[in-house]
Every structure is written in structure tokens, then in C-alpha cells.
């Protein structure tokens, strides 16, 4: 068994559902009995699960908090309050202050913004790379396929965290945008394998063959016929990719390889808070809590999506 079938089983990949193409010939006139679209079906299943709503509402609140929170708070992230240094949570400083009097609530908000932005860009970007590489490899087959699969396997040999650490001197002096791109650049391989195996089965389907024989160019076939049929998998991957990207960013920043001063992310805040985690726990617990709640909410959405896309995985037990 190859690794591909593996990942398929892991993601609970469904048999790809193909909407029948209207042929125009032999179709009775009058309003056609349109089958319920797959997208709407998934959406209906999704909105019936409580996990999805819990995750969506929590993540909505977190986004609103990160964006609007600073507007309703008197302190900024970098100013110092010399009268209240190293203080625990008070009515004035909600999350307390660090040893040089910077307000932790304001810092947590700024860090949360940065981590969210990186996650929301890097996750979907990784999925985009996976979709392009996977569909091209699966559709073209032959040498291209073999080379791409070989590259994927090569990238999977070493853990991506270690590769990112080795590469970190390259984006040391650059802005966080490059860190984001690097994270995305090392998080697409497994999904690309899934897309590839789905594409291989799709390319022999009649509607793809028809498009090919009509002379539709390859990029258009991929964009119009292949990608839409794996879209549900891609949406799940993009959602869970946000979690993975934020985890990668915070871990790299925590060990000093990611976001660097003067930028602040949840990872750098946690790195500063660790040494005092036992004596002044608020320095660690509040940023860690914000991070965990955010990631937990996103994974709940991802999990609900997965169940909505593939409701048959394991429920047909008597």
C-alpha cells in the first residue's frame, strides 16, 4: 500500500462526486429536476453540527477581539508603565505587566494579530501549492508525475520544522512575510499527494476526457474540472493548515528562529514569559490561553467540515 492511500484514509477522502454534465441532447425540456448541489448538501450537514457553531462563534469572537480590542484599551503594546512593573492582573492592566512595565493585554492582542495573519495566509497558501502540484502531477502522469512525487518524498524525509530552522538565517533580517512564505512552502506535501491520487482517478472520467478531446487547454481543465471536484478536501486542508501554520510560527518564534523584535507574535511573547512561568504565571498563561483557544476553535471547524464532507466514515455500524 502506498502512502497516498494512507493519507486518503486519514482525511476520510470521499469518492469524488461528479455533477452530471447536461448534454443538451435527449434532455427533456421544461424545468430540469436539479439535483441538490454538493456544496449545499455539505453546508447543510455542517450547520447541523454543534462543533461547527462553537468553533465558528469562538473564532469570530477571537478575530473581533484581536482587531477591535486595542481600540477599547488605554495602553499600547510597547509603552511602559513605570509605576506598575511586574504586576499581576489588575483592573488597570487586565493581564498584568512584564518586568519593564509593558502591558500584557495589549501585547497579547498585537501578538494574536500577527499570529492570525501568518496562519490565515500560510495555511491557504500551502493548500494552493498542494492543489497546483498535486493536480499537475496526477493529470500529466509520466515523467512529470514521477519527478514531482520524488520531490514530495524528498521534502517529507526531514521534518519541516528542522528544515525551517536550517533556513532561518535566510529570513533573519527580512520581514515576517518571508517567514509566512517559508512556512507555506513546507506544508503542502501530504495534501499534494492526496490531490494527486484523486486527480489520477478523475482524469479518466468521461467529462474530463470530453474536455480534453475538445481541445480545452490543460490549465483550464485543471481549474474547471479537476480542482472543483477536490474542493471539499482543499477546504478542509486550508482550515487545518491555519492551525499547522500558527503552530509552526509560534514554535519557530519561541526558539528564536521566527518572528524577531521589534515584531511581536504569540511565540515571542511565550518565549519571554517562559522564564517567569512559575513565579509570574500571567506572563505565560494568558498568551498561551489565547493561542490554545484560537487553535482549538479552528480545529473544531476543520473537524466538523471533515465530517460534513464524508459522513459515511465509520457511522454505518449496527
Amino acid at each position: 500500500m502506498s502512502l497516498l492511500e494512507e493519507t486518503n484514509a486519514e482525511l476520510g477522502a470521499p469518492d469524488v462526486l461528479v455533477t452530471p454534465q447536461p448534454l443538451g441532447v435527449g434532455v427533456p425540456s421544461g424545468p430540469p429536476a436539479r439535483p441538490r448541489s454538493r456544496g449545499r448538501l455539505i453546508w447543510r450537514r455542517l450547520t447541523q453540527t454543534s462543533r461547527f457553531w462553537v468553533g465558528a462563534i469562538v473564532i469570530g469572537l477571537i478575530l473581533a477581539w484581536a482587531l477591535l480590542g486595542p481600540l477599547f484599551y488605554p495602553f499600547d503594546a510597547f509603552g511602559r508603565d513605570p509605576l506598575n512593573m511586574g504586576l499581576g492582573p489588575t483592573q488597570l492592566h487586565w493581564f498584568g505587566t512584564n518586568s519593564i512595565g509593558q502591558d500584557l493585554y495589549a501585547q497579547t492582542l498585537v501578538g494574536l494579530q500577527k499570529s492570525l495573519v501568518i496562519g490565515l495566509i500560510a495555511g491557504p497558501l500551502g493548500t494552493l501549492i498542494a492543489a497546483v502540484v498535486g493536480s499537475v502531477a496526477g493529470y500529466m502522469g509520466g515523467v512529470v508525475d514521477r519527478v514531482l512525487v520524488w520531490c514530495i518524498n524528498l521534502l517529507l524525509v526531514l521534518p519541516s520544522f528542522i528544515l525551517l530552522v536550517i533556513l532561518s538565517p535566510l529570513f533573519k533580517g527580512l520581514s515576517w512575510v518571508f517567514l509566512t512564505i517559508f512556512i507555506a512552502g513546507f506544508s503542502w506535501m501530504i495534501m499534494a499527494q492526496v490531490v494527486r491520487s484523486q486527480t489520477k482517478s478523475l482524469r479518466d472520467r468521461d467529462f474530463v476526457k470530453a474536455a480534453r478531446y475538445m481541445g480545452v487547454p490543460m490549465p483550464k481543465i485543471l481549474g474547471r474540472h479537476i480542482i472543483p471536484n477536490v474542493a471539499s478536501l482543499l477546504i478542509i486542508d486550508a482550515t487545518l493548515g491555519v492551525v499547522a501554520a500558527i503552530l509552526a510560527e509560534t514554535s519557530l518564534s519561541y526558539f528564536g528562529f521566527g518572528i524577531r523584535a521589534p515584531d511581536v507574535s504569540l511565540g515571542t511573547l511565550l518565549a519571554e514569559g517562559t522564564s517567569a512561568a512559575v513565579t509570574r504565571p500571567w506572563l505565560f498563561v494568558f498568551p498561551a490561553g489565547a493561542l490554545i483557544v484560537t487553535l482549538f476553535a479552528v480545529s473544531l471547524i476543520g473537524d466538523a467540515l471533515r465530517d460534513a464532507v464524508d459522513p459515511t466514515s465509520g457511522v454505518n455500524r449496527d
Binding site: F161, A277, P281
Partner: protein
Amino acid sequence: MVLYIFKRFINYFFLSMIATCLAYVVSSLALDPAAKYYGRNPQPTQQTIDNILNGLGVNPDVPVLQRLWEWLVNIVAHGSLGNGVNGVSIVDQIISRAGVSLRLLLIGSLIGAIVGVTLGVWGAVRQYKLSDQVVTYGSYLIFATPTFVIGVLLMIGATVLNGAAGMQLITFTGEYSAGLTGSWWDLALDRGIHLLLPTIALALIGAAGYSRYQRSVMLDVLSADFIRTARAKGRSRNSALVRHGVRVALIPMSTFFAYSFGTLVSGSIMLEIVFSFHGMGEFALNAISQSDINAVAGTTLFVAILILFSSTLSEVLYAALDPRVRN
């Protein structure tokens, strides 16, 4: 079967060697070992710097492919990975540290795998019951928590516990208590206690992933016809579940072990740093901050060999479980 495993081993061998070579090239391009000598006061002469860099085989003026070639020749001919910037042989440094890392990695991932598989089977059999829900949400919570946060939270917990007990129940900084003397048994116990928290952290990460995967595979197996057949021919429910269910569900798991091993390696590297172990994690961290190309290359080789062995092992497990592969 031997031929099959041998073929897979050769495949992984080439992949990991090429990955190591690529890592060597990338780290040579990303790191600048000369910079720290230019920053010294008084600045050494260009001649001295060149001599040092040439001695280490990391002079950026020599083409990187030539250096890679020399590095490889050195491995094959002398079994040497060159010297670090501190002048000590990389092989010696890795040998003195590898034990610390392997201890944590092997014990942690083994416990994680056993606990994860058990919880996964249990969750699948008791699907949607309270215990299943608790395990499911628990594993999501662990997924949502970065490795280092798990480590630090365990430290805070241990400190609270020590405070409550009024004595040093759990010690957790470093891999042993400095200056402790006593019998072999005392020293081993001391190391064991130091190993406790990082092992728990690593096992939690492993168990979270394995239990989710084992649960979904097990659910697929449970709805398969052969389970019903086994029940129909008179096997008890438990016997059908274990003999026919778990065994089949472990087949895809064996590949997942190999896949997830990389995550555990990076997880254990992070935990080593968090718990101030003098292992490969600290080695890699120092190597990057000191722009030590040979040390970085040595670390990646170490990791690649670990991955190579774990992949081969999972193939052996796969072949042992799935009779179709053996023929």
C-alpha cells in the same frame, strides 16, 4: 518479504542521503561561518580566518558542491563528519549527546503509540459515548497546544505539586541532578525522574495523533463484512474485535507510524530545549546560532538516519501484519 523490505530500505536510504546532501547545501548557503571572526577585536588577519575555515572545510570561497563532495568523501573514507567551530569532532559530540535524545524519543514515542492505539480502539468501539467524546476533545486540545507550551505547563504543574507535597517530588531541569553521587541505582532513578515530564509530554503528543487515526481506521474496519462473518461463525465480540478488527486496523497504522515519526523527532527536539537537556536539540540550536555548518549537517544526518530506521521498521511491521505483501 526480505526482498520487499530490502527494496524499501534502499529507497529510503537514497531519499535520506539526498535529503542530507540538500540540507548540507542549504545550510552552507544560509549560514556565514566567517562573520563571527570578522566581528572579533582585534580582528584576525584574512590569512588566519581562511586557515580556520579551510581547516573546517567551510570556506565560502570554495564552491559548495566541492565542499559537499569533500564532506562525503570524509564520511566514507574516515567515518568523520569534520570538526565543529569549537574544534571538537562532530561525531564525538553527537555520540555524547545521542543517548540523551534517543532515550526520550524512543520511550516517549513507544508509550505514545501504545496509549494512542489503545485509546483509538476503545474510542471506536464506544463511538459517541462519553469516554469517546472525552478522548476526542482531549486530543484536539493537545493538537491545539504547541509542544513547548505542553512542556512548560507540565513544569508549572510539577512545581505546584512539589509545593503541595512540601518536597522535591519531581525534578525537571536538565537530564540529571548535578553533583549527585550514590549507587548506580540512585543515579538511574534520578535520571528517570528527570525524564518523566518530557516523556509524558512527548507521549501525549504521540497518543493524540495515533488515537485519532486508529479510531477512524478502526471504525472503517468495524463496519466491514469480515467482522460480521467472524461474529456469525461464533466468535465472541471481543475475540472478533481483537483478532480480526485490531489486527487489520493496525496495517494502515504501521505506515502512519513512519509518517508521524518526523513530528515526534521535532517534538522531542523542542522538549529537550525546554527541559534544558544536553541533547541533539541543544546541539542543533547552538549550531545554528554559531553558524556551524558541519554541526548542522551532522544533525540532519542524525535525523535522516532516525527517519530511515523508523520507515524501515514500519515496513517490517507492515509486512508482518499484511500477508499480501509477503508474497
